[in-house]
């Protein structure tokens, strides 16, 4: 049974007004036409490399962009537009953020005070202690300052802050960098637990493998936009992935041959015509660099590719030494055969 949709983002764009030399104003578009869905009791992992605008997405949903940023598109929370009153009411209560690093804690305030948001009621004290204990933090953590804690402890403190409330949606921004594999897996497990209690989790990460261990859905994030959204199980086989970039991610995983994709992502703000992935795409055709590529429904999932059939048919032979050109050739041949 499909779980209830909690957060739905459609056509989200975020750009910055910047003044270049000569005081010319230009728009630096960092996020463009992004879409994703989070359901109650599920983890949707947004997977993308760093610098591609993932934190910005998290802050944008919470309405916390810097003054020189502007945002357009639709963010629906439980079917209602997440703006103004509603946003003020749910921010920090129903929707909570687990931020990216220790810099999001006040360096001069004791951890306990921060977790409790300054509340001193018996209930708050009790809940705070419970949470710290739940995440295996020693009781004296409360009276410590952030600089006295290790990276792993900070992560768990940050997660605790989220659970001081009874959130319906947790937005976790890169919760694992700097942790060793065991610690990272444990942190991911914490988010799985939170989801299993009925909360929706938007898990932002650059680590596909870790995400696949706990997430229900994956949103493939590339240069400020989503290229494909699918059930995490789709990543079990290359053939079930529709977008060429998703397939490239699959092949880049160690257990699938560790083949990196040639080229690099465009920088935030680089302008492009047509498909953002076209320059690196083995299946690109002429039409790919001309028209705007819509984020459309294909076989029950959203994909931003106008020729996903081609990619689908390629069905990775798993050759180690394929250059993009060789790939292209193989593809046309197979296309002829069909």
């Amino acid at each position: 049974m499909e779980k209830q949709i909690l957060l739905q983002v459609e056509g989200l764009s975020i750009s910055f007004a910047q003044y270049t030399k000569g005081l010319r104003r230009r728009n630096l578009q960092v996020i463009r036409d992004l879409g994703l869905t989070v359901r109650s009791g599920e983890i949707t992992a947004v997977v993308g490399s760093s610098g591609s605008g993932k934190s910005l997405l998290a802050h944008g949903i919470l309405g916390l962009l810097p003054y020189n940023a502007s945002m357009s598109g639709e963010i629906l929370y439980k079917g209602q537009e997440l703006t103004g009153r509603l946003l003020e009411n749910v921010r920090g209560r129903e929707i909570v953020l687990v931020p990216q690093s220790v810099s999001y804690l006040d360096p001069l305030m004791k951890v306990g005070n921060q977790v409790r948001k300054g509340r001193k009621t018996a209930g708050a004290l009790e809940r705070c202690r419970e949470l710290l204990a739940r995440y295996g933090l020693p009781p004296d953590t409360e009276s410590r300052y952030p600089f006295e804690l290790s990276g792993g402890m900070i992560r768990r403190v940050l997660i605790s802050t989220a659970l001081m409330e009874e959130p319906e949606l947790v937005i976790a921004d890169e919760p694992t960098p700097g942790l060793d594999l065991t610690a990272a897996k444990r942190v991911m497990g914490h988010f799985r637990e939170i989801a299993d209690e009925g909360t929706g989790v938007l898990l932002i990460t650059h680590d596909l493998e870790l995400a696949l261990e706990v997430a229900d859905r994956i949103a493939v994030f590339y240069a400020g936009t989503t290229l494909e959204e699918m059930e995490a199980s789709a990543f079990q086989r290359e053939e079930t992935l529709l977008h060429p970039y998703s397939q490239a991610l699959y092949r880049a995983m160690p257990q699938h041959g560790f083949q990196p994709l040639a080229g690099t992502q465009p920088y935030a703000g680089d302008s492009y015509e047509g498909c953002v992935f076209a320059p690196r795409c083995p299946y690109r055709g002429e039409e790919c660099s001309i028209q705007e590529i819509p984020y459309r429904e294909v076989r029950g999932r959203k994909v931003r590719c106008i020729r996903p059939e081609l990619a689908e048919m390629s069905g990775s032979p798993g050759k180690m030494d394929r250059s993009p050109d060789a790939e292209n050739l193989a593809l046309t041949e197979r296309g002829r055969m069909a």
Binding site: L64, R91, G92, L97, P99, S101, D106, M109, G118, T161
Partner: protein
């Protein structure tokens, strides 16, 4: 207290003593090379003309003009170390006594200016920084820049014009009413006479602390931890109270203690304008009148006050900032 702390304490003390020695020597040296003739400036050309050579020689002896400068400095330093600050040549009273009286006059005025500029400057800085780019910010920044470019003595003159000459609500100068016996001077008299000098000093002192605080506050408001506080639903004034004040208090405190020297420097000029018989005015008199013992005494007192302010700031910082405090505790 462990060994390391004791060593650090002694090192600090030694540094202060060395600095005092250096500063007093510098003051002495400047006097020695100054072109001012003590006899001409203190006795007067006309009086000197009517004196016999014998009398003039006596005067030269009194003003120390027959002793080489190095010897005089050595004599002064040796006496000073044994607790004797010498006798003021101008006032013909022990330097310690003169200093005590002048310091008492100046100190409360400077303290009032220091507290006022600190409190007001801090409040304005918080207000501006929390509203960066808005009219509040522009108002405070504008005021501060204007004040920072206005010399204290000029401001003192303006205040004098407005309040004493035009409005006639405050006295023109001096520390007590003119023509009143010392015994009849009330505390209220003293307060009223100190208002304008203190105001002139604090009005200029505000700008520095306000600008610095504004900068820090704006920085804090753009920090990740304030963004997170916002994400957790904290309201603006809660954030300012919980995170803003906490994080700007320390730098503001350091700056405020360091500003002791500026207040001190400003007081020299301001006291001159208001004919306020304080330490600053005595310093000017001693310098122009070649009163070496008094000038050196004042130098030492001011050095102690200024260094004391800085040392206190360091000390408090170490106690208050957990990052430093805990670091030291762990260092044991």
């Amino acid at each position: 207290m462990d060994k390391r702390q004791i060593v650090r304490g002694f090192a600090g003390l030694a540094r202060v003593l060395l600095l005092i020695l250096g500063v007093s020597f510098a003051a002495f040296f400047l006097l020695a090379v100054s072109p001012i003739d003590p006899l001409q400036s203190n006795v007067g050309q006309a009086a000197l003309g009517s004196m016999s050579q014998e009398q003039i020689d006596k005067l030269r002896e009194y003003w120390g003009m027959n002793t080489p400068m190095a010897v005089r400095f050595w004599n002064w330093a040796w006496d000073f170390i044994r607790g004797d600050m010498g006798v003021s040549l101008l006032y013909r009273r022990p330097v310690a006594e003169v200093l005590l009286e002048k310091t008492a006059n100046s100190l409360w005025m400077m303290a009032a200016a220091w507290v006022l500029s600190g409190v007001i400057g801090f409040a304005l800085g918080v207000w501006a920084g929390a509203n960066r780019g808005k009219w509040q910010d522009k108002l405070v920044t504008g005021y501060s820049l204007l004040m920072a470019s206005t010399p204290a003595f000029f401001l003192a003159l303006v205040l004098l014009m407005v309040f004493s000459v035009w409005l006639k609500v405050l006295p023109v100068g001096f520390a007590v009413p003119v023509g009143t016996a010392a015994a009849d001077v009330t505390l209220a008299d003293r307060l009223v006479h100190g208002i304008l000098p203190a105001a002139a000093l604090s009005l200029t002192g505000i700008s520095n602390i306000a600008l610095q605080t504004r900068e820090k506050m704006a920085e804090v408001m753009e920090s990740d931890y304030v963004l997170f506080a916002q994400a957790r639903g904290e309201k603006k004034w809660t954030m300012i109270r919980r995170h803003g004040l906490r994080n700007i208090a320390l730098p503001a405190m350091t700056l405020q203690f360091a500003s002791v020297s500026e207040i001190f420097g400003g007081s020299v000029l301001v006291e001159q304008v208001f004919s306020y018989p304080g330490l600053g005015q005595a310093a000017v008199d001693a310098g122009l009148g070649s009163d070496v013992p008094l000038l050196l005494g004042i130098t030492v007192v001011s050095a102690v006050i200024v260094f004391g302010g800085n040392a206190l700031a360091d000390f408090l910082y170490g106690i208050i900032d957990p990052r430093i405090r805990k670091g030291r505790e762990r260092g044991r």
